[in-house]
Amino acid sequence: MTSATIAQGHDPLAETGEVYEDAVVIRLIQFSVLWAVVAMTAGVYISAELLWPTIDLGQFWLSFGRLRPLHTNGIIFGFGVSALMATAFYSVQRTSHVRLFSPALAWFCCYAWQLVVLLGGLSLLAGWNTTKEYAELEWPFDIAIAVVWVIFGVVFFGTIARRKIRPIYISNWFYGALIIVIAMLHIVNNLAIPVTVDKSYSLYAGAQDAVVQWWYGHNAVGFLLTGGFLGMMYYFLPKHSGRPIWSYRLSVVAFWAFTYSYIWAGPHHLHYNAIPEWVQSLSVVMSVILLAPSWATMINGIMTVSTAWEKLKTDPALKFIVLSLAFYGLATFEGPMMSFPSVNVVSHFTDWTIGHVHSGALGWNAMITYGTFYFMVPRLVGAPLHSVRLANIHFALALAGTMLYIVAMWGAGVSQGLLWLSVDEIGELSFSFKDVMTSMQPFYALRLIAGLIFLTGTLLMTYNLFKTLAGRQAVVAKAPPVDPAYAINKEVTA
């Protein structure tokens, strides 16, 4: 017990003596940023290949079909999951008032995951590809992912089990759902018979495989890219605004409604495809229902900051987090809308889908992650951000890049959808596929520019965080005393 804590008037009995394990958080942030740069560069490169198809230079590993899964997997598993692990480790300690359960396992989790992403990425370039979207990695990696994931779960839930505070905080429900549901989806969807180290055949075939795959694909988006990042929002937004979450009740209802209804919506990725009709109809209904908990959560977030404006200082971190909520609102509205058969008939198979994914991935996931990193990094090393000006420029670039990307893909997608379906008076097709494809070039050019703008912003952040971190160590952060009213140990209160 230090004299400082006594001087502040804390109850000496309640002092926990726990020191947070923060070095692993910093390392995960570094890896996350690294993968963001790598995977976004791959994205920009393949978007250029759609304009100049020969820039793969005849090299198999630069071919579009191999770089595209590298781009998606790099973003989701490299950038996204590393960021989720970093923020989960950071916030679970602070909401439980204890050090991580087994820091050694946490470090193992950190490095093992990076190894999986690195080798997995290389295996994709080598052509080990199951072709199931966002589950392209072959069976050895599927097993490795499952093992690391379980360890992630052990560290996370182990920490919660040791907590000094009675209630489990809301952000931890979302991180918990991320860990549990993704494990379930990952294992079921990847069941396969291995043939050789680089090849396996799915246990499911044809239409059944399609339904299982989109149950996975849709909910990987749901519980990883939506739920996991909502965990981020639920911790960092109240933390930053110094206010409790606006409505506790709303967060309880929204969480369970979200967890229940998301799972059903997967087959809306297969409208008019050769799967049973009742599955398609059910998925439309559930997609629309899903809008309610999605937006309830957004409203909860916005109201949390809105009721605290007198305390707010606009720093780049908050700007990013608040704007990310606007794009979250767009993406979670656009999704159910695109699941309507009358809209889907136009949007399916077009670039509109790509635009929709990026309004989520750039506008929501990347922006809230950037905001969170700008918030965490200075606090982790106890030094101010290297340059607030650069971060503000990054904000403008991220906003412009995302808007341009979305609008370009709306244009491309709607044109494709309508022109493909367009017929003349005697019922003959108005446009050949080739004509429609050629007319996409301007939109693809705009998208390339959008990607470059967004990547430039990310590079600015990389430099900014690197300068903030350079030569600094994680500051020693101790768990503050627990409010006796919430303490888990009744004796302490007595």
């Binding site: 916005i302 109201m303 900051v305 809105s306 009721t307 404006w309 007198e310 707010l312 200082k313 606009t314 908050l318 700007k319 608040v322 704007l323 909520l325 606007a326 794009f327 609102g329 767009l330 509205f333 656009e334 809308m337 695109m338 309507f340 009358s342 809209v343 008939v345 136009v346 949007s347 309004s359 906003l399 412009a400 808007m403 341009l404 979305i406 609008v407 370009a408 709306w410 244009g411 709607v414 044109s415 309508l418 022109l419 379906l421 367009s422 017929v423 003349d424 008076e425 019922g427 097709l429 446009f431 004509d435 429609v436 050629t438 007319s439 996409m440 070039q441 301007p442 939109f443 705009l446």
Partner: protein
């Protein structure tokens, strides 16, 4: 105030938006006067340009032949376009007015209408691109204009409503959220109408 605010809005808002916002901060014009003396003229521009452009040249979608529609259908579409813009302006102003309470801004509905009109003004003028109805050309002109309009939104809200920049930023972001949702709804509704049989033929 009288006429001065309107004459100020009508031209100078375009090249001196910050001065216009500052002027607006001290005025609470009547909403219907802003709408009919000022906003209406701007709202007529895009449908007018698109009607002229589409009837003279036909919409060009990339390499394909121009899509020519008969003038009755065009008139209907232009009218629809106008009403959507009108509806969009009024609802955005209403939402802005409604949100203002949350962010501690107390301004009359008229001021919100004027604010949204100034923000949208560059887009109305840039819709001149509709005269040359090529999808890509229009995107090239309108996208940078949209980014400019968003800049105006972020600078205009704190200036015109007299609230601190940090609160203005939050409110602007919330409005961006609404505008994005409105835009995508419009897209969804028009696609649904199209696939259900209104508009050019589709083989569905």
């Amino acid at each position: 105030m009288g006429n001065s605010i309107y004459s100020f809005l009508l031209f100078r808002a375009l090249y001196a938006p910050k001065a216009a916002f500052a002027k607006l901060a001290g005025a609470d014009p009547a909403p219907w006067r802003v709408l009919f003396r000022y906003a209406l003229w701007l709202l007529i521009l895009p449908p007018l340009f698109s009607f002229v452009g589409a009837s003279k040249f036909g919409w060009r979608v990339g390499a394909a032949q121009p899509l020519v529609m008969d003038s009755n259908a065009l008139l209907l579409i232009s009218l629809g376009y106008f009403f959507i813009l009108f509806f969009g302006l009024v609802t955005t102003a209403l939402i802005s007015r409604w949100m203002a309470d949350t962010y501690g801004a107390n301004a009359s509905f008229g001021r919100h209408v004027a604010l949204i009109t100034i923000v949208g003004e560059p887009l109305a003028v840039a819709s001149m691109a509709h005269l040359f109805p090529d999808v890509f050309f229009n995107a090239l002109v309108l996208i940078p204009t949209t980014i400019w309009a968003m800049y105006l939104l972020y600078t205009g809200i704190p200036l015109a409503l007299g609230i601190p920049p940090e609160r203005g930023m939050l409110m602007a972001s919330s409005l961006v959220g609404w505008l994005l949702v409105a835009a995508v709804s419009l897209l969804g509704i028009s696609m649904s109408l199209w696939t259900l049989g209104v508009g050019p033929l589709l083989g569905v």
